[in-house]
Every structure is written in C-alpha cells, then in structure tokens.
C-alpha cells in the first residue's frame, strides 16, 4: 500500500530515481549501463537464453550453442551502445516511435495502480450522467390512417376521427378505427429507440411533445398518419451506480490514463524551451514559447 501511494506520482519518481541512478553511475564509474565500458552477463540472463532456445527447439542448447547465444548478445549490446553513443537512434523514426510508445505504456500502467473508489465512481457518474442515461419511454395507443388508401382525404378522415375519440376518451374502443396495418394499436411502456424501431425515428421524436391523457394528432410517420394517446411517460434517468459499476469504472480508468499522460507531458514540457522557427515562406508569426507549445 505504501509503495502504491508513492507510485501514484510517476513523474516525481522518474526524476528522483533518474537523479539517484545518475549519481550512482557517475561515482561508481562502472555498472553496466549504456554508458559504461563493462558488459556483464549474469547467470539469470544465461538461463534466459537457454530457456528461449529450448522453447524454440524443444531441447537445451549445447555449450557451443549457448556460447554463440552469449556472443550474439554481446555483439548486440556493443552495437546498441555504440549506435546510441553515435546518435544513430535519434533520427530513426521506428526507434523514436517505439521509445515513445514504451514511455507512454509505463506511465499509463502506473496510473492504473489504484482502482477507483465508490465515491470517485459516483462523482464521475454524476459528472457524466448523459453518457449513462437510460432513454425516455412512453406507453401509448394509436390509430393508423393510410395515405395510400385514402389519398387526399386521409388527413380530414383522421381529424374527424380525432373529434369522436376526444369525446369517447382515453379508453375508447379503437379496434375497428382507421386502416389495417401490422403496427400495434396498444404499445406498452417502451424505450424511445424501441418505438423508433417500429414506428420510425421521426414518429418517436414527434410523440414526445404530446401531453399525456388525451387524443392528439394526426402525427406523421413513414407509414402514414396516426392519432395518438399517450398513456404514460417515463423521463430519461441515470441508473444507480451499482447497476452499471463496471462500465463506469472502465470509462473512468480510461479517462484517468489520458489525463495522467496529458499532465505528464504538460509538466515535462515545462522543463523544455520549445522554439518553433519561422519558415522562410511563412507569413504568420511564430516565436519562442516556454512550455507553451501545443
């Protein structure tokens, strides 16, 4: 736990550890880091070479083969140190990308150390309620009038029926009204997207402005005209945290990683002076900024 809380601040520790190791190498004059002239192969490494070999070839390497593996590694180590000392890594796009990728992975992984608490998740949910909101819903009745069947009369027919329905009230019998179609006349409480699946998106949107309890319309859908009675309406709502905890945690963790990365760059940027030089042909101004280039 102690270590975890310290590790929460990655940048500080990169810098502190970097400084400590720098001092150590500087004064010990040795070690086996990239700048040293010693190359040390530990028994652990040798074991690793042998194990990788065995994995590929299904047998342990002979002494000669093991020696060849060590020799090869020594060559690789020399090549890497010399190449880096000569700055060969600097202009290589693949090396640079890989270093950046590794660097960002490490920072992201450290950000993950502590799982968010319930309190943090609740705060996140409150702040991002829209992303988790359950859609509004409605229960309604509808009577359909076909434009194809009734042509120009469809609208007038619908209005005439509306006048009768207004008198008959919300429980009026509607089975024999309007035109036959596969659409249900009674729709139990349904989410907006499910209403849209059956009646179309425009219709689902239009009935949201109808006041519950009385017949209204005609409302246009892709099929034709409808008289509509809203029986019940349920407002959009945000579910309890317990019901959607894994989803909230996923989102929060992802966001934390992004922020951690951004914050780290922000602070590292402060160490640097970034100079964007003016292009010869550029007319617009550019200049010096300290920690300000974005």
């Amino acid at each position: 736990m102690q270590i975890r809380s310290i590790v929460k601040e990655p940048l500080l520790h990169f810098l502190a550890l970097g400084a400590a190791l720098f001092l150590f190498f500087h004064f010990s004059g040795g070690g086996s880091g990239p700048a040293s002239s010693r190359i040390v192969i530990t028994p652990g490494q040798i074991e690793y070479f042998a194990a990788s070999y065995a994995k590929t070839w299904q047998r342990a390497p002979s002494d000669a083969e093991l020696k060849a593996l060590i020799d090869d590694w020594v060559r690789e180590e020399i090549a890497v140190r010399e190449a880096m000392a000569g700055g060969l890594d600097r202009d290589d796009i693949v090396v640079r990308r890989r270093l950046r990728q590794k660097f960002e992975f490490v920072v992201e992984d450290i950000a993950e150390v502590a799982p968010p608490t319930d309190q943090e998740l609740q705060t996140w949910l409150n702040a991002h309620a829209d992303a988790f909101r359950i859609e509004p819903g409605a229960a309604f009745r509808q009577v359909y009038f076909s434009r194809e069947r009734r042509g120009a009369e469809a609208e007038a027919d619908a209005r005439a029926a509306l006048a009768r329905l207004a008198k008959a009230g919300s429980d009026a019998r509607i089975e024999h009204l309007g035109d036959p179609i596969m659409l249900p006349q009674e729709v139990p409480l349904a989410r907006r997207s499910d209403i849209a699946r059956v009646f179309g998106q425009d219709f689902a949107e239009r009935i949201e402005s109808i006041a519950p309890g009385s017949w209204a319309g005609p409302v246009e859908s892709g099929y034709g005209l409808h008289l509509v009675l809203i029986r019940e309406r349920v407002a959009a709502k945000v579910p309890e945290l317990a019901a959607i905890r894994p989803a909230v945690e996923r989102e929060l963790t992802a966001e934390r990683r992004r922020r951690q990365l951004a914050a780290m760059y922000e602070r590292l940027l402060a160490k640097y002076t970034v100079l964007v030089e003016k292009r010869d042909d550029a007319k617009s101004a550019s200049g010096t900024s300290t920690g300000g280039a974005r």
Binding site: P34, I134, M182, P184, R191, A243
Partner: protein, 647 residues
C-alpha cells in the same frame, strides 16, 4: 557536452526500467467477473409491440437476464450483422482500421467512432452483431496492438507500425501475407510469436468484447470468426458463428487447413465438445466455380454423407455484401428484370474471377433440389442471411446516404469511391455498402437469434429495414384477413421461411407480408421466385409478381408496369408519393407438380432511391458516374421454403 548527454540518457532508461520492475512486482487489476452483468436492459417484446422499459437494474447473471426477457411466440424481426472486420483482421489493420472488436460492438449500438479521421455513427443501431475477424492472423494482431505482448517488438511489426503511406502498407501486406496465403501451403508470416498470442487475441480480445457488450433483450453479441481459405484466389471463405460462449480454445484458420471438408470435421469435433456452431459461406460470386462444385475435394462426385454434413453446418449463405450481390447476375438471368442490381461486375476483372452462372445463389439453391432427388440429401439447403464484410470495424454500416466507404483508405475518400478500387477485388464505384441480416426470433438473446439462424428463419435486406414474412402450407386457411391473422395462421398451419413442406396433393398456399423501413422508402412489389430442375438436372426458375402498390395492371405478356421513379438526381432526394408502406399477398402455384422438388423464396422491392454514388456526386457537386446506376431499388430476400415430394 557529449558526456553529459549520454549520462542523461543513462539515467532516463534506468528510471524506465525501475518503473517496469515495480509494475511487475504485483500491482494487478481486480479480475472482472465474467458472469455478472448489469441489468442494463431486460426488455419485453409482446406481439410486435416495441420492447418495454427495463425493470429496476440489479446485478444478475447473464442466464438470469436472458430468462427475464419475455418470449414472443409470433416472433419479431431483429436486424444484425454476421460479417465485419476490425483491427484484429490483418488486412483491415493494414488499411488503417483501428476500431477493436469492442469498438465494433459499440458502433453497432449507436456510439460515435472515428474512422479514417472522421466521426461516424450508424444512426440506427443494430439488434445483434457477430464480429468475424480473419482467424488467420489474430495472434499477430495481438502482438501488434497490445502493449507488451509477446512478439510485439519484432522488426517486421515495427516496420508495419511505422508505415504511414497506403502504398507502402499494401506492399508490406502483399509481401508478408497475401503471397503467403494464396500458395498451396499457406503459413504464418515470419513475425508470428506463437499460439499463445492467438489464444490471447481470441479470449482476451474477441470473446471479452462479446461478453462485455451483451445486453439480453436489447443487444446480442455472437462469438465468431472468419475462416479465410482462398485457394488459387477463389473465395471459399466461411464465417463461423457460435450459439453461446461454449467455444474452443482457438479458432480454426485457413493456416490449419484450407480444405472446407476439414473445417466441417473440426466443427464436428467442436459439437462433440459441447459447442453449437454454424458456417456461412459468402461471395460465391467470386468463388471461381469452387463454391458449388459437383465433386468433393478429392474429385469424387458428391455423396449423401457429404450433403448431410455440409448442410448440417452450412445452413445459410450470405446473399450480398460489399463485393456484390450473389443472388443473380443480369448476364445469366436476362428474363429477370430486377437481376441488374449491385452486380459488382469488376469482381470478374480481378484475379481471374470470371463470373459463372454456377457461382450464384439462385443457381445453387435450385441445383440442390437435384441432389435431394438423386442422393436423398441436399448439400445446398441454404437459407439467406446478410452481411457487409466491412473492414473499418463498422458493422451494419449499410445506409446509402451515410456511406463513407468500407475498406479504409481504399474507398475512404470521394475520389477513391469514384475512381479507385478495393485491393484486388472490385472497383470502388462498383461496390456497395453491403447487406443486413434479419432473423425472426422469439426474443433478442444469443440462443433465440442463433436458433432462428439455424432454422433458416432469416431474411436479407440490401441495407434498409424492410421486414418480410413468408409462410406456406397445404392447410393454410385461405387469404388472411389481416397481417396478424397471416402470422398466426402461418405458424399454426404452415411453415415459415426456411422450412420444408413434405408432400401435397395440390399447390400449397403461400402468404407474404412486407413492411417498409419506417424511416425509408415505400414498397414497389412482392415477388415469389420458384426454382426447380429439368429432366437433365439443370436449374430452372420463374419470377412471379404476387402483390404490388397502386392500381397497376399487368400487360398481356404478364409484365407489371414499373412503379415509377421520384428521385431528383440534382438533389439526391426521393418522395414516398408512390409505392405502399405495407403489402400483403396470397398465392398458389398454378404450375405445381406434386412429384417435383421445388423451392420458393420471396423478393421484396422498394421504390427507386439514390445510390451512394449519387449522394457522393450531389454533395460534392460532381457529375454522376457514367455507366453506374444513379438509383437502386433496395430489396429484401427471404430464405426459401422447400417442397419435397413424399415418394
């Protein structure tokens, strides 16, 4: 100066190394509980009414959530997708796809995603989806994309990650992958880091996304993969789809075997271990004659055993996708006035994939009758299902006026869609957004959706949300009074699409009903297509108009006048002033022969609407492309109903 610089480097890399060690020493995430899922939405779906609002959410197991979704005995049409590739398909990754399987399921549910730098939304979410990444290289893609994965530092993958330019990517792909796949002994590319990477991709990426995104009653995810055999560049691909999460440790890839008979043997093994799975062939139009051969892979004539095994697993075929419509081609069906639809002619100009009548679905399902008669078993008893083959990780991205291409940079820009080509397959202007699957299921759960597919109670649309019912039976009580009676009588006294009628003294009755896309165009007509074979075993067919909009009268030769066309090509708009929102029909076959094996399937046509190329042209103030249809009649096809004589 030099000294200071290198020492600074030393300290940085040491710090990184330390951080890595700390991580390794025991800071792990709590493992997620596989079984528990939020009850985000258990929904009711009574008799084609929209689903009811979820009860109070509590944490329940998947099984409890599934059981809580009510059954609708009259079934509902659920729209979905069986064929989509994400960044875990190597060719898609090369094309710039960065949406993962999880992102693909999110897109299907209506979340915004970024494709080739553009924000994109499906607009109308799907009800279900099966992501079907190419099984061959998911391990390689795991190494490429997952931080710290084994093999991720392979120089070839480093090279791949560094490629920005499309031509370089194509060259890389051709060098390491394509040439390898089309050889006689395809193998993993040299950067493969071993089967554990494949296992990680399958379990930690593919199956995890399937698990995480399943919301019984609201959105169904099905586990699947594509087995991608292309012997001599002939397309033998199959999408394998599982009923539940009883799945093998690893998918089967064309590197394990490129012989479809061995694929079925593997599927038999999986069944013995408790999996339920089916295979969907696709793009038979580009199969170079291999998809429906008269001999097996040893060169022997097909046997009853072969036919039974094949039709046990291959219950459906993908009717249409980005690389063309495989129902029919106008060249081979000149008598079918609607055969000219997304024929994808340029498919025939690549890799020697010349078109043959024997590669088309209508030919195959009709030819199957000949085998049924002669062998007592039908290798091609195929229901119809849809899919896109989208390589952007965007399942069901099929709407013409919302189309941004399907294959990354190959058709991601206006210029490429008008002038380019989708690598080695088809010209951009000749491709189309692909088709959608519809299944009639009692509820939106994995089991119900998969069972509907296995029963072939499925239909396909060319992208719109047409719903279509089709029943047949000798005992149907005559012309139904209304659509509800049609459905009730259909289930009670007949068989639905995908079913078989055995023996009848006179023609069975056929009932059809179709409803328009509630956000789309009206319907022109419903047709029944009848197929049979002649004495020589050659497929024959006839297209019958059963019911149509308006007051049109067929001419003396039986031809129904066209519905008309309201499309304004200057504005890329249409109106629903013509056509019907809903059509219902009843038909008996005057040429019915009780002794003749026959099939019947339904085709529903919409009124003409603008094609994606027309939307592209109008929005960008460019001329329409010569030789490319400016309008299309979107359509739906049902699975056939088979008639089998009793003797």
């Amino acid at each position: 100066m030099k000294h200071a610089k290198s020492m600074k480097k030393a300290s940085r890399s040491a710090a990184l190394a330390f951080a890595v060690v700390l991580l390794a020493s025991g800071c792990s995430d709590p493992a997620a509980d596989d079984k528990a899922q939020p009850a985000a939405a258990a929904a009711a779906s009574a008799a084609s009414a929209p689903a009811a609002v979820a009860p109070v959410p509590v944490t329940q197991t998947v099984e409890q959530l599934e059981a809580a979704v009510p059954d609708n005995p009259l079934k509902e049409a659920y729209f979905g997708e069986t064929h989509v590739h994400t960044s875990y398909s190597l060719d898609a990754f090369i094309g710039g796809a960065r949406l993962t399987p999880d992102d693909a399921y999110k897109f299907a549910q209506g979340k915004d995603v970024t494709i080739q730098g553009q924000t994109h939304n499906i607009k109308k979410p799907l009800d279900w989806t099966a992501v079907s990444d190419h099984a061959e290289f998911i391990g390689e893609m795991y190494s490429t994309q997952v931080a710290g994965a084994k093999g991720g530092d392979n120089p070839m993958l480093e090279e791949l990650r560094g490629l920005k330019n499309v031509d370089e990517q194509r060259a890389w792909f051709l060098k390491y992958v394509i040439n390898n796949m089309r050889g006689a002994n395809p193998g993993h590319p040299p950067f493969y880091a071993g089967p554990e990477t494949t296992r990680s991709a399958w379990k930690d990426v593919q199956l995890k996304a399937v698990r995480d995104n399943y919301q019984p009653g609201k959105f169904t995810t099905l586990a699947g993969f594509e087995w991608t055999a292309s012997n001599n560049a002939g397309n033998m691909h199959r999408n394998v789809i599982f009923r539940d999460l009883t799945v093998p440790d690893l998918p089967l890839s064309a590197l394990d075997t490129n012989d479809e008979e061995k694929l079925w043997a593997w599927m038999t093994e999986q069944e013995k271990k408790g999996s339920k799975l089916l295979a969907i062939p696709h793009n038979s139009n580009g199969s170079k004659g291999y998809m429906f051969e008269s001999v097996d892979n040893a060169g022997k004539p097909l046997t009853a055993e072969y036919a039974k095994l094949r039709s046990h697993f291959e219950r459906l075929i993908e009717m249409m996708q980005i690389k063309g419509n495989s129902e029919v081609h106008r060249k081979f069906w000149p008598a079918d006035e609607f055969a000219e639809f997304e024929n994808g002619d340029s498919v025939a100009t690549f890799s020697g994939r010349s078109f043959k009548k024997e590669n088309f679905v209508r030919w195959a399902v009709t030819k199957g009758l000949d085998y049924q008669a002669k062998l007592g078993a039908n290798p091609y008893q195929l229901g119809f299902i849809g899919g896109t083959d989208n390589h952007n990780g965007a399942p069901g991205d099929v709407v013409e006026d919302n189309y941004i291409g399907s294959h990354g940079p190959a058709d991601g820009t206006l210029k490429d869609r008008r002038e380019g080509e989708i690598d080695g397959w088809i010209k951009g202007k000749d491709s189309n957004p692909g088709s959608l699957s519809g299944v009639w299921a009692s509820k939106n759960t994995r089991a119900a959706i998969w069972d509907a597919m296995a029963a072939r109670e499925s239909f396909v649309t060319s992208g719109t949300r047409i719903k279509v019912r089709f029943f047949a039976g000798a005992d149907l009580p005559g012309r139904p009074a209304d659509p509800r009676a049609l459905v009730e009588q259909g289930y009670q006294s007949g068989v639905p699409m995908g079913g078989t009628i055995s023996g009848a003294a006179k023609s069975p009755a056929f009932t059809v009903w179709a409803s328009k896309d509630p956000d789309g165009a009206n319907l022109d007509r419903i047709q029944i297509i009848k197929g049979w074979v002649n004495a020589k075993g050659e497929p024959q067919d006839k297209v019958i108009d059963v019911v149509w909009s308006g007051e049109r009268k067929p001419a003396k030769n039986g031809k129904l006048p066209a519905v008309g066309n309201t499309v304004d090509l200057q504005k890329a708009t249409y109106t629903n002033a013509i056509g019907s929102p809903e059509l219902m029909g009843y038909w008996t076959d005057p040429a019915f022969d009780p002794k003749q094996h026959s099939i019947y399937y339904v085709r529903v046509l919409e009124i003409p609407t603008p094609r994606f190329t027309t939307y592209d042209a109008v929005r960008n103030k460019l001329p329409l492309l010569p030789g490319v249809a400016a309008t299309v009649q979107e359509r739906a096809w049902t699975s056939p109903i088979w008639y089998r004589p009793l003797f």
